[in-house]
């Protein structure tokens, strides 16, 4: 059965641990053109939007689930919020768990409300993400 309100409450993950590295943080900061010294060195802090890199690994589980019949190429990001308990830093190993909070269907468009929790290996919550993604169904 393709995505429907019946999937509200479904939980995915946690994902395999993602190791935050100084090299990846530097690459990400460079892609933002941001030379803030906090993003450099062994103790680098990740830019606030880096959390989405790990959250997206949780979203990938949705595209990979044949039952939901969703395709990344047909998805538009409508809104995004992140709340931080601790900033992400080099050296952390982070796992992401996703919950489908909302499914609203209007014609070919499905609005998906998703939350993702990012935790370190001790289970400590680092950040949480809330987003709405809009999926456009292929015309029959």
């Amino acid at each position: 059965m393709p995505i429907s309100p019946d999937h509200i409450g479904r939980v995915f993950g946690p994902t395999a641990a993602y190791e935050v590295t100084a090299v990846k943080i530097a690459e990400f900061a460079r892609a933002l053109g941001d030379d803030n010294p906090a993003y450099r060195g062994d103790q680098a802090v990740a830019p606030p939007t880096f959390a989405a890199v790990i959250a997206a690994q949780a979203w990938d589980q949705l595209w990979a689930d044949p039952e939901l019949d969703l395709t990344l190429a047909r998805v538009i990001h409508a809104d995004q919020a992140f709340q931080f308990v601790h900033p992400l830093r080099a050296g952390q190993r982070v796992q992401a768990s996703l919950t489908i909070d909302g499914v609203r269907q209007r014609g070919p468009l499905t609005h998906l409300g998703l939350t993702v929790e990012l935790r370190d290996q001790t289970g400590q919550l680092l950040a949480s993400s809330a987003s709405t993604l809009i999926h456009r169904q292929e015309e029959a």
Partner: protein, 151 residues
């Protein structure tokens, strides 16, 4: 009119509700989208293929919403002195930032304002526009207030 107001810079130690952050102007090119796609591992083809973007009803290749957000956040992190002060941020991707395949790219203008002053935090709102049209909506960033005398 871009809504940009020139005012003396008021730092986070002296700021209060209504304080304007220094405005930020930057450009986003196709090269930037490729670099961000690689760094973020977001390879949605609407960020590199006009054909695939048009098929979804977009006017052409558009920037990743979180690239726009990440660029805009710099108006806050530069002002407050770094990224660790950021407690939360939220935005609606109200209008796609269309990035032409030319040498100029799209111009983003970011104007921040302290909307609320709390005991331990500021709530900063950002206007993020391209050609005077908002591309992000309801952008809200919560940052820790710096402690006086701390490094």
């Amino acid at each position: 009119m871009t809504g940009i107001v020139s005012a003396p810079v008021v730092g986070p130690l002296e700021a209060s509700a209504g304080t304007l952050l220094p405005p930020l102007r930057l450009t986003v090119s196709r090269d930037d989208l490729v670099r961000y796609a690689g760094a973020s591992t977001d390879f949605n083809p609407i960020h590199h293929s006009d054909r695939r973007a048009l098929a979804l009803g977009l006017p052409g290749v558009v920037a990743h919403g979180l690239l726009t957000m990440g660029l805009a956040l710099r108006a806050v992190t530069d002002w407050v002195g770094g990224p660790t002060a950021v407690r939360s941020y939220s935005a609606r991707f109200v209008r796609p930032l269309v990035v032409p395949d030319d040498d100029r790219g799209a111009e983003l203008v970011v104007q921040g304002r302290v909307a609320e002053e709390l005991a331990d935090r500021f709530v900063v709102v950002l206007d993020v526009t391209c050609q005077d049209q908002p591309v992000l909506g309801r952008v809200k960033v919560e940052v820790d207030r710096p402690v006086e005398g701390a490094a």
